[in-house]
């Protein structure tokens, strides 16, 4: 007893978990950050593919467990992985990585970490709008920065990073710890390639000025320059999931293993429960009513490379590409297995890759800027180049079908020449090329879901003419007569709610200031780059 009394101070100084580390090294942290960079791309694309009406599910419920797959009943949905991924899995780890790498004067780690943070910031603000940045990590209730200021910061950060990539004291510093492929499986520590990726990010950031904010020739040229800078020695930043005998999250998040981080820190792809939408299958890909040996299944030969047709139930046994209107519900005699197998794609295998940015996107950014600069021919050429590249990526090898699509019977439908080539044709191809990429939904919002119902036009044309809102949207939010004229406004979802479990509780005043606190109308508020003012019609 006396011993315990005299030595109690020592005994009480014992609150360090023996099974956990309180320190890390840049080498041990970079693989985690790079992995999460891949994951956040998936996180955004997984939501986006449903929100952009590419995929749907068998359900017609107004209140899905995952609101983005059905009735858009978002206000009760929490733990959106994108928010956590940006601020914590990437943000907090990047902060730690930057600190310890700076302390070690190994600036190569700092550059990669900052480039990834730039990408993460851009993805996150494009999904949520205003969000903490300048005061993030300083308190439990940081101030939300405006999306405008975040975009200003991102552009500034991109320029600063590009300059630092050109600074040998950063890229070739004597204290730089060599980065191996097991730390950076995207570029093996090749800072020149990370620089090009940062240039591409700058191009994507600048693109947000189109078509609503500023489509002057000067801006278009600025975008084109950024793309051209990125395209020099361009290599897609691919995170390859090519580990042999991989288990769990070592498999591609789009693969049939449907990996989730720690069972709930990410959302499983559930492509086995997903059904291709009528919009994507019919209106975009031009699926045929039945298979033709000479023409295949669809006008666009990529359809067969993105998914595989399957047989129906006994009453409808033919093997074909079945589809559903979004959230219309599946017939009782059908099952998901009667719809196309979405795992039959080079993008959706366990050993597939996640590309943080694709060359198609770069080309199509340039095409879009070229279009708004007034050069439709140039825009068409770039669109075609991107399309062919995309076909190559997906493994389309039948030359005849490619030619038929780009230069044959379907040319006038997809690639008309001269003034007949419109922003509709361009964005249609980008919609396809961005299959399972975050930009797919962003582009659709950027063009304000331009369709035959809302009749919002760009350059005089409707961009997504046959696009329709999902059936059976959650009534309290989406089937309301705001104008009191008896007509229901076909408003579209523009953003995702802030997490009710965390933001509503710990930053309620900021949410109230924004008008986002438990307010369904917040979901309808366009991003700063998606405000339609009719000036470009």
């Amino acid at each position: 007893m006396l011993l315990s009394a005299t030595s109690c101070e020592d005994a009480l100084d014992n609150n360090v978990n023996p099974d956990k580390s309180s320190t890390a090294t840049p080498q041990s942290m970079l693989p985690v950050v790079v992995f999460y960079a891949s994951q956040i791309n998936y996180d955004h694309a997984e939501y986006g593919t449903y929100l952009s009406n590419t995929l749907t599910t068998a359900s017609k419920s107004q209140r899905n467990s995952y609101a983005y797959k059905g009735g858009w009943e978002f206000l009760t949905m929490n733990r959106h992985p994108q928010w956590r991924r940006h601020f914590y899995d990437l943000g907090a780890n990047i902060n730690e990585l930057i600190d310890i790498a700076t302390e070690a004067k190994s600036y190569n780690f700092v550059l990669i970490a900052r480039s990834i943070r730039l990408m993460s910031t851009q993805l996150t603000t494009d999904m949520f709008g205003d969000m903490p940045r300048s005061e993030a990590y300083t308190s439990n209730s940081p101030k939300y920065d405006t999306q405008e200021s975040i975009y200003e910061w991102m552009l500034q950060e991109a320029d600063e990073l590009i300059a630092l990539y050109d600074d040998a004291s950063w890229t070739d510093g004597i204290n730089n710890i060599p980065i191996t492929s097991s730390m950076d499986r995207i570029f093996n520590g090749d800072l020149a390639k990370w620089r090009q990726f940062t240039c591409a990010m700058k191009a994507r950031i600048l693109l947000r000025k189109l078509p609503n904010l500023d489509n002057t020739p000067e801006t278009c040229l600025q975008i084109i320059d950024a793309v051209d800078a990125a395209l020099v020695d361009w290599e897609d930043p691919r995170y390859e999931y090519n580990n042999e005998n991989a288990t769990g999250v070592a498999n591609c998040p789009w693969g049939p293993s449907k990996p989730t981080i720690n069972s709930w820190e990410s959302r499983s792809n559930l492509l086995d429960k997903a059904i291709v939408s009528k919009y994507f299958c019919v209106d975009v890909m031009g699926v045929f009513s039945k298979y033709s040996f000479f023409k295949g299944y669809a006008e666009d030969p990529r359809l067969e490379k993105l998914m595989k047709a399957r047989s129906g139930p006994a009453t409808d046994p033919a093997k074909k590409f079945r589809y559903l209107e979004n959230n219309i519900g599946m017939g009782v005699s059908y099952q998901e297995k009667n719809y196309p197998d979405l795992y039959e794609s080079v993008l959706t295998r366990d050993n597939s890759y996640i590309s943080l940015f694709t060359k198609e996107e770069l080309l199509l950014i340039k095409a879009e800027a070229t279009y708004w600069k007034g050069d439709k021919t140039g825009a068409r050429a770039l669109t075609l180049e991107a399309t062919l590249l995309n076909m190559e990526r997906l493994g389309v090898t039948k030359t005849a079908w490619i030619e038929e699509y780009t230069d044959g019977d379907y040319k006038t439908k997809y690639f008309p020449e001269g003034n007949a080539f419109t922003i509709h044709h361009l964005m249609l191809q980008k919609y396809i090329c961005m299959y399972l990429q975050p930009e797919q939904w962003t582009d659709m919002r950027r063009y304000c879901y331009s369709n035959n119902v809302n009749k919002e036009t760009y350059d005089g044309v409707i961009v997504y003419p046959t696009l329709k809102r999902p059936y059976n949207l959650y009534e309290p939010y989406w089937v309301v007569d705001d104008d009191g004229d008896g007509a229901v406004d076909e408003t579209w979802i523009q953003r995702i709610n802030y997490d009710p479990e965390t933001e509503e509780k710990y930053n309620r005043l900021e949410l109230e200031r924004l008008g986002a606190y438990r307010n369904a109308d917040w979901l309808k508020k366009p991003m700063i780059w998606a405000v339609y003012d009719g000036q470009h019609n």
Binding site: A5, A11, N14, A24, R63, Y137, T260, P476, T502
Partner: protein, 1010 residues
């Protein structure tokens, strides 16, 4: 005439003078033989008298016919006729009437209840075992005012979390269970762990309710203390007791399953679905009562033997116990074997040595809250037929028609899991304790205690393969656990406690007495737990062992991964108490304690308590045939409460599952090195009133408790750089009333009848939360959370509700469908009861005894998530009546002018509407948890007289007990006293979520003394 009057007065005065005499004497007491200072010496019926001086002496003028009445507080009053005596020495005996109930209070000290200035309630051995519960902790409900025990169902392995008065912490990571002290030393665990103590070994149980009562125990006792004193040997001839106990039990109030619909979707037949959303059953279609067929009759048997005896210097007590408890669920069991050995050696009157060894071994297999799979089994399928003739599993679905994914989602027959899979948890709990009491000088007692508790448990489990690789088109994508899983999870914890106290009693004079106590104690807690295991048996069906698995992993995301965790925690405290006693009438005390804990970076924290009490009935001589005794008491106390360990540093975790591994921040740990202890500040006033020669005994208490610096682990915004953060956040307040009434309705022979009533109510409120936070949520159950609301209840429920008019009516649309509030986390219920009540009756007539207990509650919401799930699955009995019927929602429709008219448009209760408008709204499943239960009835007979001449048996008693015989309640689930087994934070009580149904049981006990 004037002269005559003067003469008469003179004569009278002379007569008076002649009749009076001076009587002197000394008053002493039998208690210590010392003179009694201040004793009252009154001439009966005159108001004349005096009091004794410092030497106990008195002097009074009396006549020979007078009667002198000698009285003193705590001593028996004596009345003596003077006669011719001029010297009258009186020895006053201790007053048997005034010797009060002796209870064990803090630090194991015995004290008369009247000397305590806080609420305590004590139960003796008979009261503890009354009701013959297999778990004595469960049986405390209704016996102690302010004590709540919830059960997680009718399984032998159900937990028994206990809360005294109310929760003190709203953090799910902080326990609200009291500290259990056995023979003066704290043991680990709450009510569930304490349930392993053999009730037949318990001599006395005392509940210390308020902070003042438990202040000396410090940081672990902020939720109250339950003091258990086990039986001891007594000098004299050895006494042997043996008892046998058998109990049968069956489920009561099981959810009713519909018997009208087949499985399907939207009323159509559909392959490979369970539940009951299909078409009507065919007229001749056979149906099965799968729930009743699954649940059987539980059997509990228990055998006890104990021996006690000793000499003047050495006494011992030894007991052995074995119990076997098979629940109503197949292979849900708990078998226990326990030993207790206690010895006490008193080599001299200055020294006493105690030593004890207690060991309990348990073998158990639980069932958890898994009744959902049974309730949702289609009624047209015989669930008991789970195995094909070749021994393989009979699947509910035709597996030949299913793809890989569908096969994996096919429900496994619960009977297969119970009969073909195997698991067992073995637990050994051993407590060795020793103490030495040394009295080096008169009135000084030095006590040293040390105890060592070791808990070891191992979970061993084999889940048989559900499939073989050939069952799948692509078996490489199948979770390997589907091909079998083996798990071995050992854990060991050690608790070493030591305590040193010194107490001194100093009598200033006969009226004033001071008791002082100083002490220090320390606690060292360490443990290790791990898991070994693997998946995919190499030789399925041959043997199930770790040596037969293909896959092992350290990937934490995999269900069969391996891990090992160590932990260590230390606490230290020193304390002091001083008590002042004035003539046994007024008691004042104060304590002060300083605590240190390894879980806080601050070095120490201290807190005081003060108490005062006065027996006003004696101070003001108010005792009368009607009013026997009255005491007022009050106290104020603070107690600190420690926090969770390992929260100082941010830590990095090995991300071994990632393609290139690496170390990243561990999201489950947020740095919190500014943590401060939760601080409970409490005041209490109370009264102990007794009437009619103490036949009526009433104890009242009002308390108010504020707990500041709530330590909560909250899911903060990731923008803070953390996911979970442990921090001090806000304050809660509890206030309430407790009343205990004991009434001897008949006292004497041969008939005795005593009634006891306990009443308590508490109001808990969150009074402060930082950072504009308005609610703290606990563990999630779908969209339902136990929630503590700012300026609202600490034990509320949040979930989904309808849109409502200003008058609270449900808003409906023109089509008659209700409008659902889009907001999440709406206040939908409050689990805090309006009040709790218990009423016990104990009757005896000659050798026959009867006792019973009514236990009840008014108010307190329960959310019936079991029912919600049954309706969602189309299985609830009510669907037979309401499915596809038109109903008019009891709501209002908003008019263009803003007024509201009653809804008159019906809606059809089909699967879609029920899903969209009914089961999606959790407020529909809030029910009133009020109940009145006949908790038990015991009839016993004592055969002592019949065996009087038997030289071998000294006593024989038999009893029959019926438990949970009926429950009056509007609650539609199995039991309104339901919970999820957690007393942490806002707790899991009042949440009905697929627990094993409660049981009704009949128990037969025979007890013999040799």
């Amino acid at each position: 005439m004037r002269k005559q009057l003067l003469l008469l007065l003179f004569c009278f005065s002379v007569a008076m003078t002649f009749a009076q005499q001076k009587v002197t004497g000394v008053v002493t007491s039998t208690e210590d033989g010392l003179p009694v200072i201040g004793a009252s010496v009154q001439v009966k019926g005159t108001g004349q008298g005096t009091i004794t001086d410092f030497d106990g002496k008195y002097s009074v003028q009396v006549s020979p016919k007078d009667i002198l009445v000698f009285s003193y507080m705590g001593l028996e009053t004596q009345s003596i006729k003077v006669g011719n005596r001029v010297t009258l020495n009186v020895v006053l005996k201790s007053s048997s009437v005034m010797v009060d109930e002796v209870v064990i209070t803090a630090m194991g000290m015995k004290a008369e209840k009247k000397k305590l200035n806080f609420a305590v309630q004590s139960l003796d051995a008979d009261e503890i075992t009354a009701g013959e519960s297999s778990n004595f902790v469960n049986s405390l409900q209704g016996k102690v005012a302010g004590l709540q025990v919830s059960t997680s169902g009718g399984s032998p392995n159900s937990s028994s979390p206990m809360v005294i008065r109310a929760i003190s912490s709203i953090n799910p990571g902080q326990s609200n269970e009291p500290l259990f002290i056995v023979d003066g030393m704290a043991i680990s665990g709450g009510g569930t762990a304490a349930g392993d103590i053999n009730p037949n070994d318990i001599e006395n149980l005392t509940v210390l309710k308020g902070a003042a009562a438990s202040a000396l125990y410090g940081q672990e006792a902020a939720n109250g203390v339950i003091m258990i004193t086990t039986k001891s040997g007594k000098s004299g001839k050895m006494v042997v007791n043996a008892s046998a106990n058998v109990q049968f039990e069956n489920a009561v109030r099981t959810p009713e399953i519909q018997n009208m619909y087949a499985p399907g979707i939207y009323g159509f037949s559909a392959p490979n679905v369970s539940g009951g959303w299909g078409p009507l059953l065919q007229p001749d279609e056979q149906t099965y009562d799968n729930v009743d067929n699954f649940l059987g009759t539980g059997l509990f048997t228990k055998y006890d033997i104990n021996m006690a005896g000793g000499t003047e210097k050495f006494t011992s007590y030894a007991s052995a116990m074995y119990s076997k408890y098979d629940g109503i669920v197949p292979n849900d069991y708990k078998n226990r074997m326990g030993f207790l050995l206690k010895s006490s050696y008193t080599p001299s009157k200055w020294l006493k040595i105690n030593i004890s060894l207690n060991s309990v071994e348990t073998e158990a297999r639980g069932f958890g809250s898994s009744m959902g799979s049974i309730y949702n089994w289609p009624v047209n399928d015989d669930m008991s037929n789970y195995k094909n003739n070749d021994g393989s599993m009979r699947w509910l679905y035709d597996m030949s028609l299913l793809d890989d994914s569908q096969k994996l989602n096919t429900p496994v027959n619960p009977n297969w899991g119970r009969y073909e899979d195997w698991s067992e948890t073995k637990t050994t709990r051993t407590i060795v304790a020793g103490s030495i009491e040394w009295k080096p000088i008169k009135n000084l007692v030095l006590t040293g205690k040390i105890s060592y508790e070791k808990n070891h448990s191992s979970y061993d489990s084999a889940i048989t393969p559900r499939f073989t690789e050939t069952d799948f088109v692509d078996p490489s994508k199948v979770d390997l656990t589907r091909f079998g899983q083996y798990t071995y999870s050992p854990s060991t914890s050690e608790l070493i406690r030591s305590q040193l106290t010194a107490s001194y009693e100093y009598k200033i004079n006969r009226d004033f007495k001071i008791n002082a106590l100083v002490g220090l104690d320390s606690k060292e807690y360490n443990g290790v737990s791990g898991r070994m295991g693997g998946a995919d048996f190499i030789l399925p069906g041959e043997f199930y062992s770790l040596n037969n698995v293909n896959a092992i992993s350290t990937d934490a995301s995999l269900g069969y991964s391996m891990y090992l965790n160590h932990y260590e925690e230390n606490k230290f405290g020193y304390f002091g108490e001083i008590r002042l006693d004035y003539r046994g009438i007024v008691h004042v005390s104060g304590t002060y304690r300083t605590d240190m804990a390894s879980t806080f970076s601050n070095t120490s924290y201290s807190y005081p308590s003060v108490t005062a009490g006065v027996i006003f009935s004696e101070l003001f001589h108010l005792s009368s045939p009607v009013f026997s005794y009255g005491k007022l008491r009050g106290n104020f106390a603070q107690v600190g409460k420690s926090g969770p360990r390992y929260k100082f540093d941010r830590t990095f975790k090995n991300m071994s599952a990632f393609p290139d591994g690496g170390f990243g921040l561990d999201s489950t740990v947020g740095a919190s090195n500014e943590l401060e202890p939760e601080m409970t500040s409490s005041w209490e006033i109370g009264a102990d009133l007794r009437f009619f020669d103490s036949r009526t005994r009433l104890d009242l208490a009002y308390y108010s408790t504020t707990v500041d610096n709530q330590i909560v682990t909250v899911r903060v915004s990731p923008a803070s750089g953390m996911i979970l953060q442990t921090r001090n956040e806000g304050s809660i307040k509890n206030y309430g009333i407790e009343a205990q009434l004991q009434q001897d309705i008949f006292r004497g022979k041969p008939f005795n009848w005593t009634m006891g009533i306990n009443f308590s109510l508490n109001r808990g409120k969150v009074v402060d939360l930082p950072d504009d936070i308005v609610e703290i949520q606990g563990t999630q159950y779908g969209d339902v959370f136990p929630t503590s609301y700012l300026n609202g209840s600490t034990t509320a429920l949040s979930g989904k509700d309808y849109m409502r008019s200003p008058d609270g009516d449900i808003l409906c649309k023109e089509d008659g469908t209700p409008m659902i509030n889009p907001a999440k986390s709406v206040l939908i219920g409050n689990r805090e009861p309006d009040f709790l009540i218990g009423m016990s009756q104990k009757l005896s007539w000659k050798n026959l005894s009867l006792s019973f207990l009514f236990d009840g509650r008014v108010g307190g919401d329960v959310i019936n998530l079991t029912k919600r799930s049954l309706i969602s699955m189309g299985q609830d009995k009510s669907l037979e009546k309401y499915r596809n019927r038109e109903v008019i929602v009891d709501g209002v429709v908003e008019q263009a002018d803003g007024s509201y008219l009653p809804n008159t448009t019906p809606m059809v209760l089909n699967a879609t509407n029920l899903s969209t408008y009914f089961t999606a709204v959790s407020s529909n499943f809030i029910e009133d948890g009020s109940y009145l239960r006949l908790s038990y009835v015991t009839i016993g007979y004592n055969f002592d007289k019949l065996i009087k001449s038997n030289p071998y048996i000294k006593g024989l008693k038999c009893s029959v007990t019926g438990k949970n015989l009926f429950t009056l309640t509007k609650y539609t689930g199995s039991d309104p006293q339901v919970g999820t087994g957690s007393a942490s934070g806002a707790g899991g009580f009042g949440i009905d979520y697929y627990q094993v149904p409660s049981t009704r049981s009949f128990n037969f006990t025979i007890n013999a003394t040799f």
